[in-house]
Amino acid sequence: MLNSKTTLASIAALLLGGCNIPDNSVSPQGAQHSEGLEVAAPAPDLKPQMPQIRARVEPSDLMTSTMNTVPTVLLGTDHIGEEQQAELLARTRLVLWPEGEAVPGVQPEIRDARDVTGMQWSTLALVPAKPLEHRWYAIEIAEDALSNLLFDPQGVDGQKGTTVVRFHPGSQPVVRRIQIAKDDRGMALHIVFSERVHAQASASELVGLMSRGQPVGCKSDTDEQLYKDEGTHTLTLVCESIDLDGPLEVTFDRRLVTMDGAGLRTALESSAPHFKFVPSQHFDSRAGEVILRP
């Protein structure tokens, strides 16, 4: 029998070493300031007797202008058996979003591959019969697809116990994420867009913040990138204080446009995005910060 110290050491070793957790799920470069890429999440609390399979989806949730990127689920594991393959295939679909109807003629392909990093992957590619149209789609995965799947990064909850990862092959600039985290200078608000945005005005003018109905004073941290023609994926505002327990409204000025002049949209409408939410209700315990996923 293991004593408690041994058990703790075993769990710690698993957290550090990772059983079947791919190396590249860890992002060491201060991701919240890295052009809107996924934030590294700490390793989950795994049980030693039940190794988790880390799953990744490409494109990531709310990516737009994905062109001919083939929707793919990557599983960080040596090999999944035929039974598990069948289980995963039966519970993974490429669907129209938000209708939820399956895209006809999709051919799933499962392959095992080892890359130069030594990582073993099983990949499930959902290959459409013809190029996807310029509209929203989603990769829908039933949460019971495999009992030990762990999604990183996670999508949003869909209908009837599914996780969906939404994407748009054409240009459709939307807000992918709003993150709020403590910063040395106050509260940092990171707004991540699906495409690069630019403007000839400060982000502090272009992004309106109202906390409990009162305007919040913020300074922009990314104007230098915003003023450039190629713009930026992420706007960062450093605010004096944000009441995490009260309603927060975030609005965007129409001067904020993509490189080809398109205005921001909500995911499914052409109106400018407007968010009203209570930050504390969107606290992501894995990331240790507030993350609103529209």
């Binding site: 992002s27 809107g36 890429l37 202008s65 051919q107 392909e109 030594g118 190029p131 310029h134 240009s171």
Partner: protein, 512 residues
């Protein structure tokens, strides 16, 4: 290797092929944001000029290629290019005396065995045949071509130059494939508007992309995006090639998609490699002390050599070792011994000391480099010494000066490594495959290339009762074993490019 394909009935695929070949199919999705692979009718020639001269050369006859090579080059084009002929402009590869292992050039689709093998002197085109992967055509984008040059351990000749890549175009097959770390890519882009996209798995470490064109042309750009193909409005990094571009990638959980685009009217040939380095292998503020009155000219030349050496190390380590910067100290003393040198560079020891006299540059046991005046502007020498001081690698030659055998002053035992001889075009570290496979004679110290003592290569030399030994561990294995690289280099000859064409980018080796 991943290669996703659309499934369509074979007849449809064949009709699409015919229609594409006849120029009947347009782009599937017209969009201002989209990059589109260029189409053309008939065949198109690109001057790619891939030559064995880029590889390691025979140390004693520079007109010859070195023995013991297994080089690898990935050749990419767009997702419409489905047939490829590699046309040599020079062929002088030793014809085999017996069957078995012999010098040869091999080409084929990257996910299959080579389809054409060549040696001798024929200039006939090496034709890579049309090939289906399921219901889709293999293209130069996916999986691309793989070119290998393999030489045995003797009988080298002067080598080859592939002057022309001839391709044909069909409908867009829409697939991309993975490239690897440590892989050298050469690609072609049609003038006017074209794109080539590839993927590489993001690592847990920092990653860099080095890409350059053979000639300067405004309008060639590299785009990188995490987890999806880049578009003109959605990318995480973009750089224009002028004619080099060095991209430091931010964090990514997933896959990097890398697109090369060309809007210049003329066709372009690009080169690319992707590196990954651990955070602690990015070395900054290496302290350089000089305790004599150095002229502004000499100082500028030394600093340029330091920068060049940083790029050489980047190249030799395939992007896994980053020499970011040097800090310059006009010191009171530097190489005078304890205690003065302990405080010479800002109150602490210098890492590099410039010596006012001529002598033999070296790296001491305490990892301090002394650069004598006759070699302080030689970037190859500095890179060799950095191999000792910054990377902890040993020599791969034996000093025979003042020893019993005086035929040569130093005896190389691993001619594919900058730790053996840091001159001429050698710019790599050995892997286990080529470690100790390019040497002088074991017995007679005759300056010729001989492969000694079977498959493991020579242990050293023996002469006049003296035996000198060389370490059996290759430099790449040492880097891996010492934790300086996370991923072991594949067991082949590493790419030999020295990356000194990047020395105007101000990314590495800057002195402050």
């Amino acid at each position: 290797m991943h290669d996703y394909r659309y499934r369509a009935p074979p007849r449809v695929a064949l009709l699409a092929l015919l229609a594409g070949t006849m120029g009947l199919l347009g782009p599937s999705e017209a969009s201002a944001q989209s990059f589109r692979p260029a189409s053309f009718s008939g065949s198109k020639d690109f001057s790619i000029n891939i030559s064995s001269d880029e590889g390691v050369r025979n140390r004693w006859n520079w007109s010859q290629y070195a023995p013991g090579q297994n080089t690898h080059r990935r050749i990419l084009g767009n997702s419409r290019m489905y047939r490829a002929d590699l046309v040599p402009s020079r062929m002088d590869i030793r014809t085999p005396v017996t069957s078995g292992d012999f010098d040869r050039l091999e080409a084929g689709w990257a996910d299959r065995s080579p389809s054409v093998t060549r040696n001798g002197s024929s200039l006939a085109a090496m034709q890579v045949p049309l090939s289906f992967n399921g219901y889709r055509l293999r293209t130069l984008q996916s999986p691309g071509l793989k070119l290998s040059f393999k030489t045995n351990d003797a009988y080298e000749a002067t080598g080859y130059t592939l002057g022309t890549l001839r391709v044909r175009s069909t409908s867009d097959q829409g697939t991309t494939s993975f490239i690897s770390l440590y892989e050298r890519v050469t690609g072609v882009l049609v003038g006017g508007d074209d794109v080539v996209t590839m993927r590489v798995p993001a690592t847990r470490d920092k990653m860099t992309i080095s890409t350059w064109t053979d000639s300067f042309a405004l309008g060639v750009a590299v785009y990188a995006r995490c987890n999806a193909q880049p578009s003109r409005t959605a990318f995480h990094r973009r750089r224009y090639l002028t004619p080099t571009a060095f991209v430091e990638l931010p964090a990514c959980t997933g896959t990097w998609y890398i697109s090369l685009t060309n809007i210049h009217p003329s066709d372009q040939v690009f080169h690319l490699s992707v590196g990954s380095h651990k955070a602690d292998r990015e070395l900054k503020n290496i302290k350089v002390g000089v305790a004599y009155s150095i002229s502004a000219t000499e100082r500028a030349q030394v600093q340029q050599a330091l920068e060049d050496a940083a790029w050489r190390i980047y190249g030799a380590s395939q992007g896994s070792q980053i020499i970011r910067s040097f800090k310059w100290y006009q010191a009171d003393a530097c190489d005078d011994g304890w205690p003065a040198e302990e405080f010479a560079c800002g109150g602490s020891p210098c890492n590099i000391c410039l010596h006012p006299e001529e002598g033999r540059s070296n790296c001491s046991a305490s990892k301090k480099m002394t650069l004598y005046r006759n070699s302080n502007r030689n970037s190859a020498t500095i890179a060799h010494e950095m191999g000792h001081c910054q990377l902890g690698l040993p020599d791969e030659y034996q000093d025979t000066t003042n020893k019993t055998c005086r035929q040569v002053s130093s005896l190389g035992l691993c001619g594919h490594s900058i730790m053996e001889a840091s001159w001429d075009n050698i710019n790599g570290f050995c892997t286990a495959m080529n470690h100790r496979r390019h040497t002088v004679s074991c017995t007679g110290l005759n300056p010729r290339n001989f492969y000694c003592r079977g498959n493991t290569g020579p242990y050293g030399y023996e002469c006049g009762g003296r035996r000198r030994w060389i370490d059996g561990t290759s430099m790449w294995d040492r880097l891996f074993d010492d934790g300086k690289v996370r991923y072991r280099h594949p067991n082949r000859t590493p790419d030999n490019h020295n990356y000194m064409n990047f020395n105007v980018t101000n990314y590495l080796g800057q002195t402050y």
